[in-house]
């Protein structure tokens, strides 16, 4: 039997749906291709949005029309045709397979390695599921606890209906709708996303995760997340999933806005493992994300990301340190293999006094991939005693990949203390030899060394994520050494 490739799977995914006719035909859920004002209006109408939201989307759309796609990033790809995309399709409620037996065995093997339960596997692969009693009950108790604390956690479409004042007050304040090409596109057409509000002084008792928000599963193509932590509150938010998600959407342009009011703290962790394309560099997801957080007085925002998927990643989670004594952190591991390209990093904008930021970025490139760190540290004239520490380390495996560092540092205050250091190296042959000698095979040895290399960042992940992320690193680099 010829090898069952990912292309075949993709093909299969497409054809399968029609074959079995799994369309939920309540009403047409997919819009025609192309983007114009009517489509934007239609999306808004479909979601039964208030007038101001429709106007907001239209404004973004008009701005987007005048914008050009940015080209400064160190990535090369065929630009998507924005008129060839359908901008609205209902969440993936339709099952793709009848049973797990039909799913790509390679995918299942990966699930097994990650230690994902059978039910979860079904869900992730898009297999039709009976009601998983367990999962529902977990979610229900979960929601109850949150409600008791007054925490709002729902999809953004729901929030627009139920808490329009809150959404209206905060949406677009951190990432303005005209911020950049993809943010404007997202603002115009975002399909869904999450909204989270933590009231004053509340410490969210559990890690909030999109995964638990059942019924709203399936990350949309244009996701919009808004997290507001009111004064003195704390929340830890998990996005994404370690399991490979075979999304058919080629282009993802998400926007994430975090608002940490006085004394609040937000911890935002991401594990991204979208389809990276096959080993010849065909296919794969384009991931163009705008993520930004705003810190008021004494607030803290911490971004942690593990990026292993996507063919193209263009992502700079940023912190605007507006309030005095606010703190911004960025911990990142970006792994690229085969033909993947990543241009990722952060921006730390110091506006308030005594603001602090830390950047730890670990890039691992293997195969024929290109991995870039791009960061900005900006100290404004009134940001007295601002402090930044940045460290960017790159690990290269093989001589066909590249690692690049583009740090921008702009200081306009004499009391600023900024440090940046970057190193590039490979895994030492002596290190491998040491492991081999002690009976650890090369593949495992590399996993071990990579793990040590990324430890600073892995440590910042919430417990349950960290374990999976470690395995994920291993899997992503599988076969990268001969």
């Amino acid at each position: 039997m010829s090898k069952y490739t990912e292309d075949d799977l993709r093909e299969e995914l497409k054809t399968k749906e029609y074959e079995y006719g799994f369309y939920t035909d309540i009403e047409s859920d997919t819009f025609p291709n192309g983007l114009n004002e009517d489509i934007v209006r239609a999306i808004s109408k479909k979601k039964n949005e208030p007038q101001w939201m429709t106007e907001w989307r239209l404004e973004a759309f008009r701005a987007w029309e005048d914008m050009i796609e940015p080209e400064w990033a160190n990535i090369h790809y065929k630009k998507p045709d924005f008129q060839a995309i359908s901008y609205y399709s209902a969440p993936n409620s339709k099952p793709k397979y009848d049973s797990l037996d039909e799913v790509d065995p390679e995918l299942l093997a990966t699930f097994k390695k990650l230690g994902i339960s059978l039910d979860e596997q079904k869900k992730l692969a898009g297999v039709a599921m009976d009601v998983v009693v367990d999962s529902v009950s977990v979610a229900t108790t979960f929601k109850k606890t949150l409600a008791e604390k007054g925490i709002i956690f729902m999809s953004i479409s729901e929030a627009i209906q139920e808490y329009p004042e809150l959404v209206r007050k905060y949406i677009g304040t951190v990432v303005p709708k005209k911020d950049n090409f993809y943010a404007a596109l997202n603002s115009a057409v975002f399909s869904d996303g999450s909204f989270c509000y933590i009231p004053k002084g509340v410490k969210c008792p559990m890690e909030l995760s999109t995964y638990f928000r059942i019924n709203q599963a399936g990350t949309g193509q244009f996701e919009r997340t808004l997290v507001v932590a009111d004064e003195g509150s704390y929340v830890s938010y998990l996005e994404g999933c370690t399991a490979p998600s075979r999304d058919e959407n080629q282009l993802h342009a998400a926007v994430v806005e975090l608002i940490a009011l006085d004394n609040a703290e937000i911890k935002y962790s991401t594990v991204q493992n979208w389809y990276p394309g096959n080993s010849e560099g065909k296919g794969g997801v384009y991931n163009f994300v705008t993520k930004r957080g705003l810190c008021e007085k004494n607030a803290k925002i911490s971004w942690t990301q593990v990026e292993t998927g996507s063919a193209i990643t263009w992502k700079y989670p940023s912190c605007v340190l507006k309030g005095d004594n606010s703190v911004g952190e960025f911990y990142s591991i970006a792994v690229t293999n085969n033909f993947q390209q990543a241009d990722t990093g952060t921006k730390m904008i110091h506006l308030g006094k005594n603001t602090k930021s830390t950047i730890i970025s670990k890039g691992i490139s293997a195969g024929k991939s290109q991995n870039s760190y791009r960061g900005l540290v900006q100290i404004s004239p009134r940001a007295d005693n601002a402090r930044n520490f940045s460290q960017c380390d790159s690990l290269l495996m093989g001589n066909e990949c590249g690692a690049h560092t583009f740090p921008y540092i702009e200081a306009k205050n004499k009391t600023a203390q900024v440090e940046h250091e970057a190193t590039t190296s490979k895994i030492g042959e002596d290190q491998i030899f040491y492991c081999n000698q002690r009976g650890i095979d090369t593949e495992k040895a590399i996993a071990l060394i990579v793990n040590g290399f990324s430890k600073d960042v892995l440590n910042k992940l919430p417990m349950e994520f960290a374990v999976e992320a470690q395995k994920l690193l291993e899997i992503s680099l599988e076969g990268s050494v001969g």
Partner: protein, 426 residues
């Protein structure tokens, strides 16, 4: 082409010039929209109506300008006044080595081979370099043949007298150092009045097999003079090239430095000290292109910025796939003294080879208060203590300077810049 009338059409480089004019017409002057010019705008210096070819020559007395020379050592001198060669201030030679004029090299047949092989071979084709290629009339031509160690340094000085209300100078230097040869070069641009001057200089340096090139650029000009210095250094195997840039003044100074390592076991060093105040702007834009294996590069730039000064450091290290075992190091350290001063720094690494050791570091900080206290507690006045610390901060750039007279001169300039009267030499 109005300018074409004034240049020699018979010149062997006529085609190169015509092409350069075309390039310039396409590229034009760089704008802030270009990544490499993000932090430096030329608007403030391009607003003048510069005269390109000064009408008459002006003679300078050695006494007037002696202080701009490193005068306490014997040296070859190539001196230009308002872009014209000044024979009585200069001391050139053809004895074993060629230290002479670009205009002569471009016209005389005996230099033809060198010109054909080297002229405009590594200069960038961007707007500014093309402008220079197209219209530069004069500069230094230095050719050191095989196995020759030049026993005394060569000084290249450009004076502008302010005879024209605004002057654009475009010197063009070609320096070819053959196998095993060794040369030391000192370059300086000096304006003598407050009339605006813009210098757009292009220097091509070829360090052939095992050659040693030691290049010093002293930039301590008036507040009205601006300098765009484009230096391209091509190295062959086992050669050593060192470039020290001392930027202490000028309205706008932009140093474009490119090193190309075309061979194995090459060593490239570029270092700089920048101490500026007022509304001065200094931009160091460096590139090291590691093309072959087993090479090294070292970059170390220190900056101290006072008043409204702005500093830019944009360093780029490219390591090609074949350039295994590369060892590249880059450091940029800065101190901001005033609230209005600012620094933008962007050290970049682009690495395509896996077996390399590349690192960069950059810092922005202040003087260590405990060190300050230590000095003060031992009776050293505040100003002097501060100066001592700053000198210490920039000292390791001076460590690799091989001509003691330059070191002394730089030390004096630093003392003067920091407003103290101490020798620093402990």
């Amino acid at each position: 082409m109005a300018f074409e009338d004034t240049v020699n059409i018979e010149s062997p480089i006529h085609d190169i010039r015509t092409q350069a004019i075309k390039n310039f017409e396409i590229e034009g002057f760089p704008t802030k929209r270009q990544e490499a010019w993000k932090y430096t705008s030329l608007n403030s210096i391009l607003k003048y109506d510069y005269s390109v070819f000064p009408k008459h020559e002006k003679a300078l007395d050695y006494g007037e300008v002696k202080k701009y020379f490193i005068h306490d050592i014997d040296s070859y001198k190539i001196i230009f006044v308002d872009g014209k060669y000044s024979s009585h201030l200069s001391q050139t030679t053809h004895d074993g080595i060629d230290v002479c004029l670009m205009s002569a090299a471009l016209t005389k047949p005996k230099y033809r081979l060198v010109i054909d092989n080297y002229f405009n071979k590594i200069a960038a084709k961007d707007g500014l370099s093309s402008l220079n290629t197209a219209f530069s009339a004069e500069g230094a031509y230095i050719h050191i043949p095989k196995n020759k160690v030049v026993e005394k340094p060569i000084q290249i000085l450009h004076f502008s007298t302010g005879d024209e209300s605004a002057l654009l100078l475009q010197p063009r230097n070609l320096i070819v150092v053959d196998e095993n040869a060794h040369v030391q070069i000192i370059e300086r641009h000096q304006s003598l009045t407050d009339n605006p001057v813009l210098t757009n200089s292009v220097t091509e340096v070829f360090a052939n097999k095992r050659a040693i090139v030691d290049y010093y650029k002293i930039q301590n000009d008036r507040q009205t003079a601006s300098l765009i210095d484009n230096t391209f250094i091509n190295q062959k195997r086992e050669s050593v090239a060192k470039l020290h840039t001392f930027s202490f003044g000028g309205k706008l100074t932009r140093n474009n430095v490119s090193f190309f390592q075309n061979g194995e076991r090459i060593d490239s060093t570029m270092k700089g000290i920048t101490i500026i105040g007022n509304k001065q702007h200094v931009d160091h834009n460096t590139l090291v292109h590691h093309i072959e294996p087993n090479c090294e590069s070292h970059q170390d730039y220190k900056g101290i910025f006072d008043d409204n000064a702005t500093g830019v450091f944009n360093g780029k290290v490219v390591v090609e796939k074949e350039a295994q075992k590369t060892n590249a190091f880059q450091a940029n350290n800065n101190i901001l003294i005033s609230d209005k001063a600012s620094i933008n720094t962007k050290p970049q690494l682009e690495i395509f080879a896996d077996d390399v050791k590349c690192s960069h570091g950059c810092t922005i900080g202040q003087l260590d208060e405990s060190a300050m206290f230590y000095l003060r507690s031992r009776g050293i006045p505040k100003k002097e203590a501060r100066a001592l610390l700053m000198f210490g901060f920039s000292n390791n750039v001076l460590e690799t300077v091989t001509i003691p007279e330059i070191k002394n001169r730089i030390t004096k300039i630093i003392a003067q810049k920091l407003g103290v009267n101490i020798g620093f030499n402990l």
